[in-house]
């Protein structure tokens, strides 16, 4: 049973740690397999930008302190209100609906963009698409303030 009582504010290290923990606990290794991706999230707020690195490491998902933001495989960047709308949609429906899936938000480069110096590292975002969606969909189980 996954705890859902934790109240964390978005975007904070605590929130992403909680999310990563839930996502790891609920990840079915036989269904999703392992992943190997360091994904930077660049969440642009009105006054400051919040950066976080999510490490998809084998069958675990962690938020990294040690991985430098400019050395990740790929960076997903966009306004905080888009991330907030995605989380709200996930929490309303249990998983992301039509326009709020991670792929849908990034495919056109707006409202979220994916950037990487290496097209194969960018393509890793597609190689692990279902795992990344699982990570974000885990927000349904995370009480957010």
């Amino acid at each position: 049973m996954i705890a859902t009582k934790v109240r964390s504010s978005f975007p904070t290290k605590d929130w992403f740690n909680e999310l990563a923990q839930i996502a790891t606990q609920t990840l079915d290794p036989k269904a999703l397999g392992w992943a190997d991706l360091n994904l930077g999230l660049e969440i642009i707020g009105p006054s400051e930008t919040y950066n976080v690195v999510v490490c998809f490491d084998g069958y675990e998902i962690n938020v990294s302190d040690s991985t430098e933001f400019d050395k990740v495989d790929a960076i997903v960047s966009g306004p905080i209100n888009v991330f907030e709308a995605m989380i709200k949609d996930i929490q309303s429906h249990g998983f992301a609906q039509g326009p709020y899936t991670f792929n849908a938000l990034t495919i056109a480069g707006i409202p979220l963009s994916i950037r990487s110096d290496d097209p194969l590292n960018r393509d890793k975002v597609f190689r692990y698409a279902q795992t990344i969606q699982h990570f974000f969909d885990s927000a349904a189980k995370l009480e957010t303030i």
Binding site: W34, L120, R122, D123, A129, Q130
Partner: protein, 359 residues
């Protein structure tokens, strides 16, 4: 080969031969250490087994590192150079493929398919028909070449086996989608078959791999991304996400294989340009084929009427994205197509290409 009929009698008497135990050239004591995800191909690439020859010394199915009989038959492989099939990421991609297999029967929530407006269902079924039609060529092509590849490069063969299974599953899942929601299969176009024939008829592995792994699968990867975006329900979204993962592995192999090949023989660049020239020409026709373009345009805006009002806006974005990502991968492989892209300028609006497009 002679049958040693006396052997049975000697063995019954306990007189074992044991030459395999006593005189085999072995590396007794060698011990591979599992990594975090288990014992991988990279983990066992140790000792003489881990030494992959540039040119295979024999043409047998024996594992590298084995003590091979001098009188083994020649199995007739025609691809005997590592550079012809190798990529530096092939072991990782094999492990990833095995780890991330899924079932079109079990893992798609088919019973959740909602009833859709007829034009949306038609569009979805036409897209599913197209994808089911094209995906199997990416099984047929590697299968055609697999037996010709020397077993010293078995990791590449094993990866291609995963690709064959992946593409069988893609063929399956899109047929199932077309037939699962009252729509049925749609139109199969000659131009699509012409492109598939180009891949299947490739004169060598280089040509087929460039056309399939780099060009065709790169495009299909983008179509899967678009499909996930445009999908009318969570059921199709999951189908496209799972297919996207598989396809991206194949593209990663193709890109890195081309890079590996060109690093060792840069003179092949002109051949690869020629292969891709021919492929891009047919791709250009696909970009103007209604059965290919219009279903996605309709799914993007939610119906035929809406599409008639908004035109091909969504298809334009997708096409631009497809070509940009393809050009990026060509750059990564060391084969810039930006000056040589054989796609008409009318299709290339907004793209960063040097030639401005073919006329």
């Amino acid at each position: 080969m002679a049958i040693d009929t006396d052997y049975i009698q000697r063995a019954k008497e306990g007189k074992f031969d044991l030459s395999w135990l006593k005189s085999t050239k072995s590396e007794w004591g060698i011990k591979a250490t599992p990594s975090k995800i288990g014992l991988t191909l990279k983990d066992i690439a140790i000792g003489s087994y881990g030494e992959i020859p540039e040119v295979a010394p024999l043409r047998t199915m024996a594992p590298r590192g084995a003590d091979i009989d001098p009188d083994v038959p020649d199995l007739g492989y025609t691809i005997n150079k590592k550079e012809e099939v190798w990529s530096d990421n092939v072991m990782e991609l094999y492990e990833e493929a095995v780890s991330r297999q899924w079932s079109a029967t079990r893992d798609i929530p088919w019973s959740d398919l909602p009833e859709l407006p007829p034009d949306i269902e038609h569009a979805m079924c036409q897209l599913a028909t197209l994808l089911s039609e094209v995906e199997m060529v990416a099984s047929d092509f590697p299968a055609k070449w697999l037996w010709r590849i020397n077993h010293d490069f078995v990791e590449a063969k094993m990866f291609l086996c995963t690709q064959i299974m992946d593409e069988a599953r893609h063929t399956e899942v899109f047929r199932k989608r077309a037939l699962a929601n009252k729509g049925g299969l749609g139109k199969a176009k000659a131009v699509v078959e012409q492109f598939l024939k180009l891949i299947l008829d490739a004169q060598n592995y280089d040509e087929g791999s460039a056309l399939m792994h780099l060009l065709a699968e790169g495009i299909v990867l983008s179509v899967f991304r678009a499909g996930e975006f445009l999908a009318p329900s969570p059921v199709e979204k999951k189908i496209f996400r799972l297919c996207m993962q598989d396809e991206a592995r194949h593209v990663a192999y193709g890109t890195m294989h081309l890079k590996y090949r060109l690093q060792r023989d840069p003179s092949l660049a002109s051949d690869f340009h020629e292969y891709l020239n021919r492929g891009e020409e047919l791709i250009s026709v696909l970009f103007t084929t209604p059965e290919v373009v219009e279903p996605m345009a309709i799914l993007a805006v939610g119906g035929v009427k809406q599409a008639e009002e908004s035109g091909l806006f969504a298809a334009d974005i997708l096409r631009t994205r497809i070509i940009e990502e393809y050009l990026d991968r060509c750059d990564k492989a060391g084969l810039s197509r930006r000056e040589k892209l054989n796609i008409p300028s009318a299709i290339l609006t907004g793209l960063n290409v040097g030639n401005g497009g073919a006329q």
